[in-house]
Symmetry: C2
């Protein structure tokens, strides 16, 4: 912190840990409420990813307790794969260290979230992170770790063998903050998480008392999400260069077929003719200029199919509807989806449900619940492409009125979600995504419009029926009086029958 | 890109360059329009910072040209300090390498922006960055550089001595994108930049033709912004530990006085009494627990003064007003400021101008122009604390109506601006900042309210004057006719005199 005059400009390099320590609001750790929320969220996401890797129904437990006046202990446990000993210290205490990239849908982005939680705990309470993990067939182990912020290296404070009841991982961090203020958001986050991951069960315990048990609305683990080769339209210079480096001996055509998805012999032949390259040319003989032409052409050639969707895991119609039905009081709901489509070569699917029910606010625009790669997004709604697109739709056209409170639950899944910030709260406006979302919304709107019209009719009919019932009761009363009968006959059944016979009048 | 089944979870470490290559939208490089804008912006900001380091009036030239159908060449030149040879390759081709941190206001955040521009150019056009730089008294030199993305190391492709007309730096990158689509935003960015840095002149040349020359509305370089010790309320565990490491031999009291700003012998004595520590205790003898108590107490003790403002550089009343007057057609404007105040120990000042003029849209809420550390913010307005706070104010109370189109130009400067994302487009909602902005806005509102009332009165008076003038003309005409005079006397002067004598009627 020495003071230098102007003109003497010195430079320095900083570690990723130092960068995010100085700029922690970039990763969603700007203040203590945000930090508590982000910590729970990052740990739960890791747990859910890990359970799906293990192809097990996730059982996740979130324990929060107030140790001191403003020190909160957060422990998240799962029944996932566990973390192998060789990776533990770095996976939890080294920023930008994470599970290997396989070009497939994951909740976690790369190796930032959990280490940020560890870092925040360490700088606000000087506590290490406590990890208890056990992999299939191996002995459980417990660790306490710190991060050396300046070098971005893990410091193992202690480690010891410790059996765990079942395979999986528990992570405990302590951080400074106000539990009461953060609680509401955490409850909302967990409830919404079990809509987008309806096969998971999440338990929330606060100061030792069960506060929420949500989920397991669906009892099938979704099929494993497979990694895939990149789509040719995703090939920038850097990617091409790397692929070529390890495939120098291949013929150009074979290189294209083996490196990219959706490129077979036929497509590659047509492509190479389009760009005037010899299919038999060795990759190692290509010049920088050649790569330039190739890369440009890969993005311009319109003969490639859309990316495949095996690397994606949408929630799916039945599971999505089941989750919503179990969470909200609804009278009707409709599902629709669009895709697989692609943005810059990254496959994506958008799916959504429009629901009507008394849990939603009465407004002339539906309430919006956003999800990305099965993660609910609670903050920074107004700059998100989903919100922006919802606002572009004329909902009056679809009979959305405050008389029928509606909500939209929108999910985008992609091998790469274009988050606007590392805190993963809102999605950037990418034209291809905007188009797909707009088309989805219009379809949902049409489906809703029909119901609203139907339910308005039902309301009218109901009113009519009540009027008839009243008149009939009067008639029966007068009739009974005229006839000198004491007991007034019940006319309700009569009215009901009348409306059953002529339901459309 | 190999496909692994579930359960086999491998991990890997990635370099900061790789992280931002994969997640470039986090740094404002998500698509080509964004990338062009961010490139110009990062280069201009670096140039302005460098000129101020050199204490020179900045002359910055931005040249953009379309080399190919969709390849844009961007060159930004300045008359700043230049970059010393030992730093050049890393400063431009290593992510998270930047000018040393001195706890003072800067435009650039740490070592990300310019390298992102270099990275984006490299992956979209395979071109190196071209640097031409010359420091005071030294020979100029030209370099071409690439980034090795996987290792985050610079690759020097070429370097040669080359004299430069004057000291400073020129940076040229080539990237893929649409010049026409990006142009409007760039022009707006430059015009607004010369409001917040009114002593700078910025020239924009497009395809060799001067397209805009803006600035030098003020001819004084602001005094150098000095680094300062951290404020005690900013001391988290990490900071305390680092400070203690290099000050082990000091007595606790001396340690506090020399490490923090606004802590003299008196204040430190009171503080140490408050936290029950012996002022003479050696720093090296403090336990982890002691640091814990110290850190907590440093944030809770209410006897510290507000942070000092020598590390800040607000635009200032006269310079701010001069910049606005030179850029917009305005009829009146008022300045106000709040602070220095602090958030989490970081000093900040907010200042703003409310202006009325025909360049602004007619609305019942003023148009908003946001600035942070003298940088205009053009994107992601709706989630910004400045915008959010403006919307909280009831502008009707201050007579803001669509009849008098108004604009708010708001500047926050701080040693640390809590940007929401690395693309630096919007500011996080920090309670301390919100309070200061609200107070500023109310003051500006009151000042505006007075003018609006005055101008409404002026409008009424003007109308009255026109009516009088018409009546007098008629009277004069009739009088002349009655008198048989051909020439009708001019009554305008008479009416004017009448209103000069009784201006308040």
């Amino acid at each position: 912190m020495s003071q230098k005059g102007p003109m003497e400009i010195a430079f320095e390099s900083i570690s990723p840990a130092e960068f995010f320590y100085r700029n922690r609001q970039l990763a969603g750790f700007g203040n203590s409420s945000q930090a508590i929320y982000s910590t729970v969220r990052e740990l739960v996401e890791n747990s859910l990813d890990s359970c799906e890797d293990a192809q097990r129904l996730p059982s996740v437990k979130v324990e929060m307790s107030c140790e001191d006046s403003d020190i909160i202990r957060i422990c998240v446990s799962d029944n996932g794969t566990g973390v192998a000993e060789e990776y533990v210290s770095r996976a939890f205490a080294k920023v930008l260290y994470g599970s290997k990239y396989h070009n497939r849908q994951r909740r976690g982005t790369f190796g930032l979230g959990v280490t940020m939680a560890v870092l925040y705990g360490q700088i606000t309470t000087d506590s290490p992170v406590l990890i208890h993990t056990q992999c299939s067939g191996l002995q459980g182990k417990e660790y306490t770790l710190f991060i050396d912020v300046e070098t971005n290296q893990p410091i193992v404070e202690s480690s010891r063998p410790l059996k765990r009841e079942f395979d999986g991982t528990s992570v405990t961090v302590q951080l400074r903050g106000d539990l009461k203020r953060a609680q509401e958001r955490i409850v909302e986050y967990i409830r919404l998480s079990t809509i987008s991951t309806p096969h998971a069960q999440i338990l929330l315990e606060i100061n030792g008392t069960e506060s929420l048990k949500s989920g397991r609305w669906w009892d099938t683990v979704p099929p494993p999400v497979l990694g895939s080769n990149p789509h040719p339209r995703a090939a920038d210079f850097e990617m091409l260069r790397r692929l070529a480096q390890t495939n120098g001996e291949k013929r150009l055509q074979d290189f294209l077929v083996s490196s990219f998805q959706k490129v077979g012999t036929k497509t590659s032949s047509r492509f190479l003719k389009f760009v005037s390259f010899d299919p038999a040319q060795k990759v190692s003989s290509l010049t920088r200029d050649d790569f330039g032409r190739l890369s440009t052409a890969l993005r311009k050639f319109d003969g490639f199919e859309n990316p495949d969707s095996k690397s994606l895991s949408p929630i799916g119609k039945e599971a999505f509807l089941a989750g919503i039905r179990s969470t909200f009081s609804i009278s009707s709901q409709y599902y629709s989806s669009r895709g697989p489509s692609e943005w810059q070569g990254n496959p994506f699917i958008v799916e959504g449900v429009i629901a009507i029910g008394d849990d939603f606010p009465r407004s002339d625009i539906p309430a919006i619940y956003r999800f990305a790669n099965r993660v609910p997004l609670l903050y920074d709604s107004s700059e998100d492409v989903l919100t922006k697109t919802v606002k572009k739709v004329n909902w009056k056209r679809y009979n959305v009125t405050s008389s029928a409170p509606a909500a939209l639950l929108l999910h985008i899944c992609s091998t790469r979600v274009p988050y606007k910030a590392a805190g993963k709260q809102s999605i950037d406006t990418i034209p291809e995504i905007e188009i797909a979302v707009l088309s989805l919304l219009k379809d949902l709107g049409r489906k809703l419009g029909k119901t609203v019209r139907k339910s308005e009719k039902a309301l009218r009919e109901n009113k009519k029926m009540r009027e008839y019932a009243r008149s009939f009761r009067h008639l029966a009363k007068f009739g009974a009086a005229l006839a000198g009968v004491d007991e007034i006959p019940n006319t309700n059944r009569l009215v009901k029958q009348l409306f059953e016979v002529y339901p459309d009048e």
